[in-house]
């Protein structure tokens, strides 16, 4: 490491071309690299190339026995097979439906509750200890009793999901409301806005950067909780598929399930969350504005 670093440093002081595109040779190679970096496909898939390559290599070298570790071709074959049989689409839609319910109810409960706690000192004083207490009872820890109550049903999974999503969401709403610069509220008041208008026109949009982050975190937690719940409640879904495959010793399905989980989350982020943030927070320049205020 040091042996490669030191010549670079020397060259930097002398005016010769550096290793990483400094100086004269920066030109062509650097620009091509930059162009590559900017292209959407490359940015989306590029980082995975070395990961898949390593995976492939481990498989090809047969570092692990095949019953423990399968390579990309096997997983792709499995994907084709399960798609053809209709198992994967079915399980996938089951999982996504559950996620949809969980997230929907989670937002419906978490957002109003979060704003209530953030806006009213009385509500906050009453709720905060309860909030901390129940936050500590992990989502999965609820499963046993929820199964007793609701059986192995959609309600059970939804309950756990909602539970997982609501807390980070509420905390992010509270943080977001506190983040709204006091001057903005004052400006609105001195322009004639009443309390309700201040809330709707200043507090809510002002809290949005943090709330968007909370939704992202909540969804991420929810996604993980979903898989865990499916493994335990297990009648269908991606989590069930993986666990069931392990039972019959089909490692390729386990690998496939893991890849699907990752890819799906990535797609959710790229197709829904990121565009939402681009259209709001980034467009308003609030990322920078908040930094300047801080």
């Amino acid at each position: 490491m040091t042996s490669t670093a030191s010549p670079t440093r020397e060259k930097r002081t002398g005016r010769g071309p550096g290793r990483h595109g400094r100086g004269a040779r920066r030109g062509l190679a650097w620009r091509m690299w930059r162009r590559c970096l900017r292209s959407g496909t490359f940015r989306t898939l590029g980082p995975f190339v070395p990961v898949v390559a390593l995976w492939w290599l481990l498989d090809a070298l047969e570092v692990f026995p095949e019953s423990f570790f399968v390579g990309p071709p096997t997983v792709v074959d499995k994907l084709g097979e399960l798609l053809e049989k209709g198992i994967l689409p079915g399980y996938l839609s089951d999982s996504l439906t559950r996620l949809g319910y969980g997230v929907g109810f989670g937002l419906l409960i978490g957002l109003p509750l979060g704003f209530a706690v953030a806006m009213s000192r009385m509500v906050r004083r009453a709720f905060w200890p309860i909030l901390l207490f129940f936050q500590a009872v992990a989502d999965i820890a609820w499963l046993p009793i929820v199964i007793v109550w609701f059986g192995f049903s959609l309600t059970t999974v939804t309950f756990v999901l909602v539970y997982t999503i609501v807390f980070p969401l509420m905390l992010s709403v509270v943080a977001g409301v506190e983040q709204v610069p006091r001057e903005l509220v004052r400006a609105a008041r001195s322009l004639g806005a009443g309390r309700l208008r201040v809330f709707l026109e200043v507090i809510v949009p002002g809290a949005l950067p943090s709330v968007a982050g909370g939704i992202r975190t909540g969804l991420g937690y929810g996604w993980r909780a979903l898989v865990a719940a499916e493994i335990i409640v297990g009648t269908s879904g991606i989590g069930f598929m993986m666990f069931d495959a392990r039972r019959v010793g089909d490692v390729s399905q386990v690998f496939l399930g893991m890849a699907v989980l990752g890819a799906l989350w990535y797609a959710l982020d790229a197709l829904i969350l990121a565009p939402f943030e681009r259209a709001t927070v980034e467009r308003w320049g609030m990322v920078r504005a908040m930094e300047a205020d801080g």
Partner: protein, 275 residues
């Protein structure tokens, strides 16, 4: 006609930790006539921003009264629009959305408020930027938008809290000239807080010089410079330098007294805006 009357204003803060009482404003009285430009000037930390915050209704006074347009101040209201040092524009609203905000709050119909907005954006030289977002504007343009947003709402008095303090020197001079131009053409009532002596002299009809904390009115200086004012000509006038020197002496005299007196009254809680 008196637009703003401040009478025996007094403000005492209680330090939340020590329970100690700090007098920010001892006794401040003055009036601002309709269509008059009055600056409040004082050493930093003297409580001038506190006076503005009380007039705006953001902070409640401990004693004394503030009357705007015949009504005693009770909380913030659209009759006292504020231009902030930090601009305080709504980043999620376009330039147009910011200007019409006050009119929307008052229920002015869309067509009418858009016409008003256009008029005031033109006044501050922002026509053509209506659909940009604040962060796309330069600091100077942002503050002009801040002025347009308040003026479009036609307040009884426009409160300005060191509005140009965070703007670079070159732009600041331009903005001061623009503000003078707007003032001379439309004659709004302006209450302007600053610590910049030249700025106060250039802009004002009268300057209220405050003492250091606990603040009292040290002197009210009449600025009789002719209008329209332009930096190039106005700063050349012997009268300009005379008034500026007089104000500087008042402030310096205060510094000396304070140095003799020794102890600085506690800094806690008083005036977060002032550097």
């Amino acid at each position: 006609m008196t637009a703003l009357k401040i009478d025996r204003l007094n403000k005492v803060y209680t330090d939340t930790y020590s329970g100690e009482e700090v007098t920010a404003i001892a006794d401040v009285s003055f009036t601002v006539r309709e269509g008059e430009f009055v600056s409040v000037l004082g050493p930093s930390g003297c409580g001038k921003t506190t006076v503005l915050n009380i007039v705006a209704g953001f902070v409640r006074q401990s004693g004394g009264t503030v009357v705007v347009d015949g009504r005693p101040v009770d909380g913030p209201g659209p009759d006292r629009g504020v231009v902030f040092q930090s601009h305080a524009l709504f980043p999620w609203k376009t330039v147009l959305g910011n200007v019409v905000f006050g009119l929307r709050m008052r229920g002015v119909p869309r067509a009418e408020r858009n016409a008003t907005a256009e008029e005031f954006l033109k006044l501050v030289g922002l026509d053509g930027f209506a659909h940009r977002y604040p962060h796309e504007l330069s600091g100077g343009m942002q503050q002009r938008l801040g002025v347009a947003r308040v003026l479009a709402n036609e307040p009884a008095v426009m409160l300005m809290d060191e509005p140009f303090a965070s703007i670079d020197a070159q732009t600041r001079r331009k903005l001061q000239e623009d503000l003078t131009g707007i003032f001379e053409s439309r004659r709004p009532t302006v209450f302007f807080v600053t610590h910049d002596v030249d700025e106060a002299v250039f802009l004002s009809d009268r300057i209220v010089v405050l003492s250091r904390r606990p603040s009292r009115v040290r002197e009210i200086v009449d600025v009789t410079l002719p209008r329209p004012r332009r930096w190039q000509e106005t700063a050349e006038l012997p009268e300009f330098r005379r008034i500026a020197n007089q104000v500087n002496d008042l402030l310096a005299g205060d510094e000396n007294e304070a140095a003799d007196g020794g102890a600085r009254a506690g800094d806690a809680g008083g005036e977060p805006g002032a550097a």
